[in-house]
Amino acid sequence: MVDAARHPQVEIVSYAEVERVDGFIGNFRAQVTQKPRYVKTDLCTGCGECAAVCPIEVPNEFEIDLAPRKAIDVPHGQAVPLIYAVDLDSCIQCYQCVTACGKRDAIDFGMEPETRELEIGSIIMATGFDSFDPSVIPEYGYGRYPNVITAMELERLANSAGPTVGKLIRPSDGRTPQSMAIIQCVGSRDKRYYEYCSGFCCMYAIKNAVLLKQANHDMELTIFYMDIRTPSKGYEEFYNRARELGVRFIHGRPAQITEDPLTCNLHVVAEDQELGQVIELEVEMVTLSSAAIPKRDTEVMSSRLALARSPSGFFMEYHPKLRPVDSPTDGIFLAGAAQGPKDIPASVAQGSAAASRAARVLSKDTWEIEPVIARVHPELCISAQGKRCGLCAQACPYGAITVEVGQPAVITPAKCHGCGGCAAECPQSAITQDHFTDAQIVAQLDALLTDRPEEKIIAFMCHWCSYGGADNAGTSHFEYPSSSRGLRVMCSARMDEDFVLEAFRRGAGMVLVSGCHPQDCHYISGQQVAAKRFDRMARLLQRMGINPERFRLEWISAAEGDKYARVITEMDAKLKSFDREALIAETRAARPAIGKRLARWKASPLMVDLLSPAEAEEVLA
């Protein structure tokens, strides 16, 4: 941190709030509000004479309220930048600090919040994590029993720079405890609170136990665990060392802690699974290894930067295996526990990776993007006509579309990833997706259904999963009927219900719509947009006079060649079970209704050139 502060090309903006971020990769604009420190950054030398004279003491947040701080203070001794700040909520404005500062004249109670606009090429989110508050678990008594503390509090109590100068004491009576139980998985791996594993608690619990054991070999240390997870390099050896030192490990999650009201000692009840019996252990102190949870303002930041969040609440990466450092928004990268709980080595690795990914953007004058992007035809957009719509912006997983009433929707090409969800959602057909235009898809349908369409199964497949699944079926030599005709689009979100209707209008026997499994979507939430859309399909088909059994929706991953083959086999069998003549008659009967529904779409300037004379006649009718 000190290195960063000294670097001529690094500016640290601390004690500030990011209010808004607009723009796109290489061209972000951030509005940042600098909160007033009431101490001038350039004049403060960090000498601390102001804090020395300040008469106000309030709980110190850095010491988790275990020690006091002054109303004018620095967060902690190693803070960078080392500039004092006045906490106006507790300051009584006696101005003794101003007197102490004297000629340096750094203290200015007239400072106001300042808003700055920063031009930024790339952004790294490294906002860290919060610690779970275990007081909501009544059976562990945190907050009620003074001698039940969290691991974070133990860190401070055992730290030589902490409030007790490294001497561990019990909060109830200030004595040094001779026994301690450490309880793992408090709030994590717990469906009542946070389902995921916090990952690094096992290691810090063992580390704390070893440190305490080394400081006082007679201390009884017991770790209660569900599973000990020490998978990284050298970790298992460290775990073994703790066992050799005499740290006791008990396989069993404690059910409750009760306090002896006289001694304030704690009784931990758990099932020792190796013994197969319930044990009650009396200890002088209990430490809870509480879960690492998303920083409380993650939600706010995710909306300010249009960043998606994983189900666990942490920022979501672009791809869990292949792009773990990138956010779904190009030019924004993730580092450390903001992306998910991780220990120091993993945070350092991800931080370095994020820095190099960010530098890659900064080192270029131009940035190449994929050619498949969406475009708005402003003359067709109803927002431009003063109507409220915004369906395209809702469907966009990347926040690439902005809609203002009275103005046509605007797509930022650098943010668009080309799923095509907006093009399918637009009720005006005012958006096209380059290389996957409506006209191109209708042309493909036309070609696929020229000959005996009633014997064909049209399979709409997304590029990343279902198409890969079909490919897999082929390369694995899975046999399936030859009646299927694949039609590839980038994402299931691109699959307009009009395409399905058009396929039936052209006489297709069956239609399959397939995409990724919900958690696998390459475009974050494209699959969800499609799933919502096609939930309504059966009813729509019924209204049009098409048997809904002729339509099927399936989620097929790239590895599920067998599933693709099975689905096509089943659909083929179903198709063969229909009476051919009846099927043709059904299609013929439904044509006028479908044609009427599709008329406006077909009549749009983007489509009309493509119509055959016969079709043009039908549309006009």
């Binding site: 059976e139 569900m226 404690p254 409750q256 009760t258 002896d260 009201p261 009840v269 099932e271 319930v278």
Partner: protein, 339 residues
């Protein structure tokens, strides 16, 4: 002994298909339920985690033929603590349903209804927290009568019906249950405890207190151990299956024969091992106190208290409080002979 883990998959599927059984396989064996379980303290062989584990592995014979699956009393203390949110008593019920379907029967004994005494008033039906008692039409001595019937698959043998029955028509056989009326009276009066004059009546020592303690309400084992140390000639502790099992007649009997005060301790509301037992126990003591007032007796001599799962060393405090109250009854009392 080794057990082949081939696993009876049909059994696992059958349990999973039962309502409540769907969470069978999500258990990760952390042992929180076992360490919470109150039944486990009295029946160390009963371990809910192990039942789920064995059932999940498909060890159907081992699970179905064991007596353990019938021991869970569905108090659901473990449920709010389970990190996997498994409704363990629901899984138990699913396993029991499968067991009954396969011809296994729950072990007895169950409360017996004396048909000659039962008036068919249905007080027991309302008292039973498990819905185990229904009335059925029977022909007795040529008359069509409605008689209480106990469903053994639902009964948990708490004895609330025994205490509730105004006709004293329901009993749990003495040899089978340590909580029959006779057994409880025997324990209250053992060693001639009820044959001495009370402190209020001019006896020696401290105020003599009879504490009727629900066996589940003192949760920590070490607290039970400490209770043994508390037993003195002036304090008699008798454990009950439930505070709702208290019969007001027992209390009046004790008060008339040498006890200065009676303290009834139940689980905290919401933690009751028999769901509504605490509610019934507290109601009984409230009514009894009113009755005593009407009879001109000081209601301060009976007390009801709750002990929560996380409370420790409650009984000494409660006894101390009751003694203080009794000692405040300074005036000479109306003679207890009235009782």
């Amino acid at each position: 002994m080794t057990t082949g883990i081939g696993g009876d998959r049909d059994f696992v599927a059958e349990v999973l298909a039962e309502p409540g059984g769907e969470h069978l396989l999500t258990c990760m064996s952390c042992g929180t339920c076992a360490a919470t379980c109150l039944v486990h303290r009295y029946e160390p062989s009963f371990n809910p985690r192990l039942v789920l584990r064995r059932a999940g592995l498909g060890l159907s014979q081992m699970v179905l033929s064991s007596s353990e699956i019938w021991q869970c009393s569905a108090c659901d203390l473990c449920y709010p603590r389970c990190p996997q949110r498994i409704h363990i008593s629901g899984v138990m019920r699913a396993i029991r349903t499968v067991a009954i379907r396969q011809g296994y029967a729950p072990p007895g004994p169950f409360p017996e209804v004396d048909e000659a005494k039962c008036s068919g008033c249905a007080v027991c039906t309302r008292a039973c927290p498990y819905g185990a008692i229904e009335r059925a039409a029977r022909e007795i001595d040529g008359q069509e009568r409605s008689i209480a019937q106990v469903d053994p698959t639902l009964c948990q043998r708490c004895g609330l019906c025994v205490a509730a029955c105004p006709s004293r028509a329901i009993s749990i056989a003495m040899s089978l249950a340590p909580f029959s009326d006779g057994e409880l009276l025997l324990r209250m009066g053992a060693g001639g405890w009820l044959d001495r004059p009370g402190w209020l009546a001019g006896g020696q020592g401290e105020a003599r207190i009879l504490a009727l303690v629900c066996q589940w309400s003192i949760h920590a084992d070490s607290d039970w151990a400490a209770l043994d140390g508390l037993q003195s000639d002036d304090l008699r502790i008798v454990s009950l299956p439930c505070s709702g099992r208290v019969d007001p007649a027992m209390i009046l009997l004790a008060l008339s024969r040498g006890a200065d005060g009676v303290l009834v301790v139940g689980c905290a509301e919401g933690e009751c091992h028999y769901l509504r037992g605490t509610y019934q126990g507290r109601g009984k003591i409230l009514l009894l106190a009113q009755l005593m007032q009407q009879m001109g007796l000081p209601a301060e001599r009976v007390a009801f208290a709750e002990s929560a799962a996380l409370d420790r060393a409650v009984l000494p405090r409660l006894v101390r409080e009751l003694r203080t109250r009794l000692e405040a009854l300074a005036q000479p009392l109306p003679t207890t002979a009235k009782l």
